[in-house]
């Protein structure tokens, strides 16, 4: 079996390497932690600290791949899903292929960064000044988005990309498992556009794992607050990734 994991910074393991290797990392403020993120060549080590690393240990006979992109918005995750699925299909034509998609924030917009010559996701909500300092374009992009692109349009593109991925992979004989860290029903309860609401409901009905989001699952299981489960820059602690891996294995084996 091939398991392709795609997603964003949670799946890329941002903060997890620091949690393990930077003294007192967990007690830093958000700004301090942001400035202590390590940009060295530890990408694979980071990824192995996530649920994908736990998957590899739990299921050594599965081939598990992690193609997460830290700041990705939905279209990037969707494109990666499709392209990596197709790549694996050609490399391993006899194997069953499962795509596990950790879906990004809904309020993230993809834009082309001419400085890095690559796509990035930018939050359409207020982002902190120290983040903007590292990426000055973000401010102009945010202004552009806030003026011309509505939250409803971003939401529509988000959900349609999910469904587009599902159609591509399922019609090619694969399986897609979507999950989200957050509960879209609660987080976006103020949606008023009926089309967005209908797409959101369709998305929620199609989630195979965590209908209420990963953070809800962890809070309920361990009886802890959100503050207790997260690192300074809001990603969940490494120990909780094991739960995600267990849940994924359980879902796959129960089909």
């Amino acid at each position: 079996m091939i398991v392709i994991c795609v997603g964003t910074s949670h799946t890329a393991g941002i903060e997890l390497w620091e949690e393990k290797n930077v003294p007192n990392y967990c007690t830093m403020t958000e700004e301090q932690a942001w400035n202590n993120l390590y940009y060295g060549d530890v990408e694979e080590e980071r990824k192995d600290l996530t649920f994908t690393g736990f998957l590899k240990k739990m299921k050594p006979d599965w081939k598990v791949f992690n193609f997460a992109q830290p700041s990705a918005a939905q279209i990037q995750v969707a494109m990666t899903s499709i392209n990596k699925f197709n790549e694996m299909k050609q490399l391993y034509p006899e194997e069953e292929i499962i795509v596990v998609s950790q879906d990004p924030f809904r309020h993230r917009f993809t834009y082309f960064n001419s400085r890095t010559q690559d796509y990035e996701g930018v939050a359409t909500v207020k982002i902190n000044d120290y983040i903007l300092q590292q990426n000055p374009d973000s401010f102009e992009v945010q202004e552009f988005i806030n003026k011309y692109i509505t939250d409803d349009q971003i939401a529509c593109n988000y959900y349609l990309s999910c469904f587009g991925v599902n159609d591509y992979i399922e019609s090619s004989g694969g399986t897609v498992i979507h999950f989200n860290f957050y509960n879209h029903e609660a987080k976006y309860k103020d949606d008023t556009n009926q089309y967005v609401i209908s797409l959101k409901n369709k998305y929620l009905n199609s989630l195979q794992l965590y209908p209420n989001g990963v953070t809800y699952r962890i809070r309920e299981l361990f009886k802890i607050t959100r503050q207790e489960m997260i690192l300074p820059c809001w990603h969940i602690k490494q120990q909780y990734h094991e739960i995600i891996a267990e849940d994924i294995v359980r879902y796959i084996e129960s089909r």
Binding site: I75, A78, M79, I82, N83, N86, T110, Y111, F112, S114, Q117, D118, Y119, V141, F144, K147, Y148, I149, T150, Q153, C156, N157, Y159, L160, S161, F163, G164, V165, N166, D167, Y168, E170, S171, Q194, Y195, S198, L199
Partner: protein, 260 residues
Amino acid sequence: MIIVCAGCSFTYGSELWEEKYTPGYLDIKTQYDAFVSTRFTKHTDKMEQERRELSYTGTFKKQLGCQVINVGIGGGSQQEIVQKLLTTLITVKKDNPNERIVCVLQDTFPNRSWIWQEQFRQNFSIALSQIELWYPGDKLEAYELKDLFMKYIPEELMHSEYYMSSLAVQGYCNNNDIGFMHFHIWDRQYAIITKTFDMTNLWEAFFDERYCVQEPMLLKLNEHYNHSREFYLPGLHINCEAQEIMGGWLIEEMRKRNLI
């Protein structure tokens, strides 16, 4: 059987009512004049219905004798078209659970986007290549907007979202036992424009001949009319006769795919 058709002005029937009923319309010389002439005309409900029936969807109704719902949007971007289409399909499916439903999507041009215009407090579909024609606000603002799009939203990003939305409709139809077919008016000039994304797989999925009519309709019409431009209207839409011919071809394509 119910056929639900969606698309841009070619489905909506732009210029067709004018061709039939507006004296002197065919004498208009420029696309801009045609655009101005039709865009600000007051459209009655009767006019709108007649217009839609003059499109290829009217041919479906005449030749197949079934109910045809035309939700084409003049100037629509793919996002706007898919929104209208999906909301219509959901309602039609719910209201007619035992009817055979077929969906025909006329894909529009990928370089159209759907933007919010603060002055008019509503969304507008705009074609970036002709933004000065389409933008409802200040023209200087239109050019600034175009620059921002060119800078931050390259064509391949617009195309990837365009293809994804079509696959989303395809998936919805497949999961709800609705027949699905889509076709394109213009040629595949939008094929792989890769800057950073590898679009090959998405492109191939979009042009899957199980669902996609392979030959672009304008190219086929060009051949049919021996490369003369007689079937074009002043605003560069196709005339009523060409619409009827196209409707006949699309019916054959639906039959080939066992949709009807």
